[in-house]
Each structure stands twice: as structure tokens, then as C-alpha cells.
């Protein structure tokens, strides 16, 4: 489904603080699989996820999505793909403070031009799914950590994306919530979505639902292959 061919990402090119986050990464990912990218901080996991999720362009290399090359697509098309096909769950959640949970969830769908009543229904359905109906109109700051994460997941799902990308989602959760999170991911996988997750949490990496664990170090993949 997603294929990266020899992708390089260099930040601050030409300047003294030039930094190569990815050094020739080649990677492919089948549909409906659950892939975990493991590695210490600074290994380039976040950069890889950004590039996978069409949030950054590689310095060199090619990206294929659903058999189509998207490396040099204009920003408009890239944004459309990002919006419709990918759901991103950030490490810091990145929910907008001062807005209600409901509005945060609907946010990725605004540019789609659907009627607001339709969006509200979908958002409420998601909130219902995560047992957060009562918190629909609560401001984000008033939610607990677990509730905030569920809102973040719901937001990632508003456009019914084919791919879920999550960056260290269990970093701030206790074991119980982490397990709950993995259950959610499993049900999403069962719905037919593809999941790519960056994590060094053993609970995640050792989970039975994970199809593949890839290790990264200093901007390159250490090993590539199927693991159970």
C-alpha cells in the first residue's frame, strides 16, 4: 500500500547545523497490516512517520501510495490525500485548546465541504463509540489524559481513513490505558485499516496483533522483515 524507496531527509541543508534524519530508507507496507517502528529517540521515527503521512517531502527518494507516485504531487493534492487517507495520532495529541472535543474531532473534515450537520453526526457517533458523548461540548483542557487520547483517536478517524499513523501513543499512558489503546487499534485493524505506529514500549512491540516490528537507528532501518 505504501512504499518508500531510498528516502533521504536532511534538515537545514547547507547550514552548519545540517542534520540527516533519514539516510536512504526503503520500506514497504501492505494494506491491513499493523507495523511498529521501534528505535531510540533521535533515530528518525517521527520523521519517517511524517513522510509516510505526507506531512513532509523527502529530500530525495520516492514515495508510492496505492501504486501511485506521490513524491512530487502539488501541495493541494498531497493535502487532499493526507486528509482523506491518513489519520494521524500525535505523541502530544495536538488538540486545539479552548475548543470543544466535538469541534476538535470535526476539524480535519472542514475543508471537505460536507454539511456541518453531517459532520456533527459522524463526530457524535465516534464520541459514542469511545463513550465520550457526555464530553462532547467540554473544552479539551478539562479532559483527562485518557479522554484526551480517545478524542485524538476519534479525530484521526473522522474522515474514515485507510491508514492510521500513531507516534508514541502509549508514552503518557499507564498499563491499563495502554492495553485499552491496543484493543482499539486491533478493532481498527479488523475494520480493514492499515496501522503504522512508532513506539519503543515493550507492551506495543510485543503485542500479538502486531504484524511486523522494524528497528531504526540513526536514520536507517536495522532490519526489515516479518516478525510475529
Amino acid at each position: 500500500m505504501i512504499e518508500l524507496k531510498n528516502v533521504r531527509k536532511i534538515y537545514n541543508s547547507g547550514r552548519p547545523n545540517e542534520f540527516a534524519a533519514l539516510k536512504g530508507v526503503s520500506f514497504d507496507c501492505e494494506a491491513r497490516t499493523f507495523t511498529v517502528i521501534k528505535g531510540p529517540s533521535g533515530s528518525g521515527k517521527t520523521t519517517l512517520l511524517s513522510i509516510l503521512g505526507c506531512m513532509a517531502r523527502p529530500t530525495s527518494g520516492r514515495i508510492m501510495f496505492r501504486e501511485r507516485e506521490i513524491t512530487s504531487l502539488p501541495e493541494r493534492f498531497l493535502a487532499e490525500i493526507r486528509r482523506n487517507a491518513f489519520g494521524f495520532i500525535f505523541q502530544q495529541y495536538n488538540l486545539i485548546k479552548g475548543m470543544t472535543a466535538l469541534e476538535n474531532i470535526m476539524l480535519p473534515a472542514y475543508p471537505g465541504g460536507e454539511k456541518r450537520s453531517v459532520l456533527e453526526k459522524r463526530a457524535m457517533a465516534l464520541l459514542d463509540h469511545f463513550n465520550l458523548c457526555g464530553k462532547a461540548l467540554s473544552q479539551i483542557e478539562r479532559l483527562s489524559g485518557g479522554e484526551a487520547q480517545r478524542v485524538a483517536i476519534a479525530r484521526a478517524l473522522i474522515n474514515d481513513p485507510a491508514v492510521i499513523i500513531a507516534d508514541e501513543p502509549t508514552a503518557h499512558l499507564d498499563t491499563g490505558l495502554s492495553r485499552e489503546f491496543m484493543e482499539t487499534m486491533l478493532s481498527l485493524k479488523r475494520e480493514g485499516r492499515t496501522i503504522v505506529m512508532a513506539s519503543h514500549d515493550t507492551l506495543v512491540c510485543g503485542s500479538a496483533f502486531v504484524d511486523r516490528v522494524i528497528e531504526m537507528r540513526d536514520g536507517s532501518l536495522e532490519c526489515k522483515g516479518a516478525e510475529a
Binding site: L102, R116, E120, M124, A136
Partner: protein
């Protein structure tokens, strides 16, 4: 559940302001027609008394009758006198003052 949109409220406010603007325009037109007799009375008085100025600033001669004043009026009290009436800064000598002497 039905939720109210912010943009609906915004349209309401803008709509309200716009309709007040329309009201203002109508009010102004109405006042203009109602003021017609007053304007005619002023025109009559100007003609009868051969007036040249509006009575706006009664501080000094040249602020009361700017049409009759010339460049020297403000300084007539002394060769080096400055402008000393506040409304003199509002009623500056006009560009239209002409000297018909060649």
C-alpha cells in the same frame, strides 16, 4: 442534539448591522426631505440680508466671516502676533483668496 453554529450567529450580527445601515439611510433621506423648508428659509435670509458666511465660530472676525477675511486677518493685532484663537486652526485662509490687482 442540535448545535448552534458560530457562523449563524455571525451572519445574524452582520445582518443586523446591515439592516441598521439601511435604516440609517432611510432616516437620512427622510430628514433631508423634512429639512427642505429650513434650507429654503436660510436661503431666503441669505438673499434678504446679503449674507456671506455661516455662523459657526464666533470667536474672531476671520473665523466668523472666513469668506470676507484675508491672509492678514489673523495677525492684525500686532506685526508679530500669532494665531491665538483655537478655531483659527480650523478655519485656515482658503486657497481661493484672490488678489485682483495685477
Amino acid at each position: 442534539m442540535k448545535f448552534r453554529r458560530h457562523s449563524s450567529a455571525a451572519f445574524l450580527v452582520i445582518g443586523l448591522l446591515l439592516s441598521l445601515q439601511c435604516l440609517m439611510i432611510v432616516h437620512a433621506a427622510d430628514r433631508r426631505t423634512a429639512a427642505l423648508p429650513a434650507i429654503q428659509e436660510k436661503q431666503r435670509m441669505v438673499k434678504a440680508l446679503q449674507l456671506t458666511d455661516l455662523c459657526l465660530f464666533t470667536e474672531a472676525r476671520y473665523t466668523r466671516h472666513p469668506a470676507m477675511a484675508d491672509f492678514h486677518s489673523a495677525f492684525q493685532d500686532g506685526p508679530l502676533s500669532f494665531e491665538h484663537f483655537p478655531s483659527g486652526s480650523l478655519v485656515t485662509p482658503t486657497d481661493l483668496m484672490r488678489d485682483y490687482r495685477d
